[in-house]
Symmetry: C2
């Protein structure tokens, strides 16, 4: 009866490579076009081109154009992974069917277990775990959205980029599992695996960290963690992972209210923040405190190449207000904005207009939207030894900013991206692009076109100077500590 019970635990590698996926608790789209989570997963799998999708519901013979089965055992082919969206009370019985079918992993979207604060529900959760262990299959969740593995065409949401990339994301929050790929996609970030693991009943933060540390498809690990049950195990896993790859950790529930929310969200008892922060410092894991900071840090690690050798930043672009504001923001977030030498300033003045301009760093001249001016500014400023990164900002200044149609044409974007790439090669320092997103339709069209061109050119795009500075400061610190560690034989 139990095909997997030979004492061998199903590995995460097997979990991430299902041959067939069943979705239990799926209904047809509602008249308003809305989907239940089950329906959304079926649609996502179809769009991603997954080859063996089995919706399960005795009420339908087909869903979204593919055959629907009355129960798991009626499915003709192998079912390695099961997505579950049925009431908590029915979950234990379903696991018996899973055992008979010989599945490898079961993902419960279903919530209302340990996180509800109800003792009976916590006991039910435990019974599910026992049943899974006895039958040799794994549980993802409950109370989460499960797996997104672009290379294997396993998907759980629409409107996320389906091409694979080097970032792994493990998250207790299902919302974050959808927001991160969606929001970071236009910035050029792509994923090897995204795992939303909710209450962490079985598959948990330690096993995931250890897996991603060794996963050849993963170069950068991002983790959103609300709670850690095995502190020592987590410390070991984090140390192992952070030695091999950059690891970005976003700890949810750092304040009292956040801790209360985390308990209600994924039944997570958050640990002492001081201990957690010390652990991150010790292992050189990169800490962030917001999903936006995570996206900015991923952008910096991926595209601020070569990674900067220090925290000295030069700010280049049109607009005096943004120059003052931006300088304040860069310095507050941990970068330095060194004064340019007299020689560099004089050289800039030879090529750029003087009236209404600033040359000390920031560099602000009204024509810093002209490719020739941008080229001169980047190369000249980039030659300063105490400047480790160049920040070019666009769209912060209102005269001729987003929505006027100036910055979205190939006539503007092609030469500008070309001079920026060439200047980056010439000075051997990263050039960072700061684009302030507008809040109107015409502006947004233009902003998106500009962002697409910069990202296609392999440049890191940030949406605020605060976000840029925070991310670059974290990455510079990470690199400094990494070099220090690796230069000492251990």
């Amino acid at each position: 009866m139990d095909k997997n019970s030979a004492g061998k635990q199903v590995s995460l590698e097997e979990v991430f490579n299902p041959r067939g996926v069943a979705v239990v608790g799926v209904s047809a789209p509602t008249t308003s076009g809305g989907f239940s989570f089950g329906g959304l997963v079926v649609l996502s799998l179809i769009r991603a081109g997954f080859p063996a999708i089995y919706p399960i519901n005795p009420k339908y013979s087909e869903i979204l154009g593919i055959p629907c089965y009355p129960n798991l055992l009626a499915v003709p082919g192998p079912v390695d992974h099961v997505v579950v969206n049925i009431p908590a009370e029915s979950c234990l019985a379903l696991l018996d069917e899973c055992a008979v079918k010989g599945v490898r992993s079961v993902h419960f979207f279903t919530a209302g277990f340990g996180e509800s604060g109800d003792e009976d529900r916590a006991a039910l959760e435990q019974a599910m775990l026992n049943k899974a262990r006895a039958n040799g299959f794994r549980i993802i969740g409950p109370n989460c959205i499960g797996l997104f593995v672009p290379r294997r065409r396993v998907a759980n949401s629409i409107d996320v980029p389906l091409d694979p990339g080097p970032v792994a994301f493990m998250t207790q929050s299902g919302g974050h599992a959808q927001i991160l790929p969606k929001s970071s996609g236009p910035r050029g970030i792509r994923f090897s695996k995204v795992v939303s693991y909710g209450n962490a009943l079985d598959v948990n933060e330690c096993e995931l960290l250890e897996y991603f540390a060794r996963d050849d498809e993963t170069e950068i690990i991002a983790a959103y963690v609300e709670g850690v049950r095995d502190g020592e195990g987590f410390a070991r896993a984090l140390a192992t992972a952070a030695r091999r790859k950059p690891v970005i950790v976003y700890k949810g529930g750092k304040t009292e209210a956040g801790q209360r929310a985390a308990l209600g969200h994924t039944a997570s008892m958050t640990s002492s923040i001081a201990v957690f922060e010390a652990l991150c410092r010790q292992t050189n894991a990169i800490q962030v405190d917001h999903l936006d900071e995570m996206i900015d840090t991923l952008t910096a690690l991926r595209f601020a190449q070569p990674l900067p050798a220090g925290t000295g930043a030069a700010m280049i672009g049109a607009g005096g207000g943004p120059a003052v504001l931006g300088s304040d923001e860069l310095e507050r977030a941990g970068l330095s904005v060194p004064r340019l030498s007299r020689e560099v300033q004089d050289e800039l003045k030879r090529h750029l207009p003087i009236a209404g301009s600033i040359f000390t760093n920031p560099v602000d001249t009204l024509n810093l939207i002209d490719p020739r001016a941008i080229d001169v500014a980047l190369r000249t400023v980039g030659s300063s030894p105490d400047i480790h990164m160049l920040v070019y900002h666009l769209g912060f200044h209102p005269i001729g900013s987003w929505g006027m149609g100036r910055f979205s044409t190939p006539a503007f974007l092609e030469p500008v991206t070309a001079v920026i790439r060439a200047a980056r090669e010439a000075v051997g320092k990263p050039v960072l692009i700061a684009l302030r997103p507008p809040e109107d339709l015409e502006g947004m069209k233009e902003f998106l076109a500009a962002q697409e061109a910069f990202v296609a050119a392999g440049l890191p795009v940030f949406h605020s100077l605060r976000g840029l500075a925070g991310a670059m400061s974290r990455v510079a610190e990470w690199k400094r500590r990494k070099n220090r560690t690796t230069s000492i034989p251990s």
Copy 2:
């Protein structure tokens, strides 16, 4: 020859009420559709419906369809205000013409004076001031974009709301003078007067503060200041203004790099930050450190009505990730997120679904996009004595978030705004709306429709929980100190 030289200085009231405006240094639109600043001002005045606009340029007989004059003296009617966009070298001579014409005020967009660091240019600036004083007219700037007075149809940019409101904004940065009205417009903020005063050669921060303190059209004063020349005078003016009205001060150039930028931007020597901050605390002026923080604080003061009696916030909306993240953000930014009493939690559980929900505060249930659920949550939570404000968030959760067409229909927005307004009246506490702006076109359309509906209903809309919390915390502190001050007879 000099009609104004009777020793009586032109008042700001007169400056803000010009009968005729001349624009010197104006050219026709370029083939690419771009404008010089002069052209932009003429276009802005036409669009605003100002009745007596006089472009000055000997090369044209008309500009944008209205007659153009060879010089100031050729203008038939009275010219009270002159906008100048000609090279610095020609400015002194122009002032002689202004004296003959008997103007009241001259605004120099022209830059390249004191802020250039060039001694000759600083001397030229001084000579201009002397000439203005000798002839009894005022100078705005140089190096700024001058006046926007919606009630008098005096405008200097397009795409800003032209209907007047209760906020005065004085700013050394011309960019900020355009960004603030444009960006805060969709949030419902409207202006009595906006003055960009650049290098503050004549009209300066002290005089403006004193004027706005007494101006009946102004209820809230916002100031962006890079430098203060007369520290004692500024302290007196700030104290006077802040006693009468809420004053929000954004000091640019708080870091070393920011100070350097401010010097190059508007020739401002920024003063000691510690002294500045102490002064703000002493006078109960509200400090902000970013234009976004200023917009959030204006939104709070205008629409978070009644202003909260404390810092206790409850967060209500769908999504566990946002609940954890948002709680952390609210507490970090200075609000408290108190645990709801057992009674309030039980009452919520009687009306809202339990599985996957959080009731402790934050309150997170998947159906918190249903007007009935929102109504129950706001009224029940709002009855708690330690909750002083209610935060309703939308668009942070990806399932059914922006772009799906769900939140922009009248069928959603009308009942939701209605229940929120009714709940606000019933509990007598402000309800704050947090809408996260999306970064795609479909999402942006929906976001803008939702924002418009909330703003039309008189509700305060914030674009991040961090921004909301910072603003509400500043306003709660301002109110607390104000009550303390006014309760002690002086």
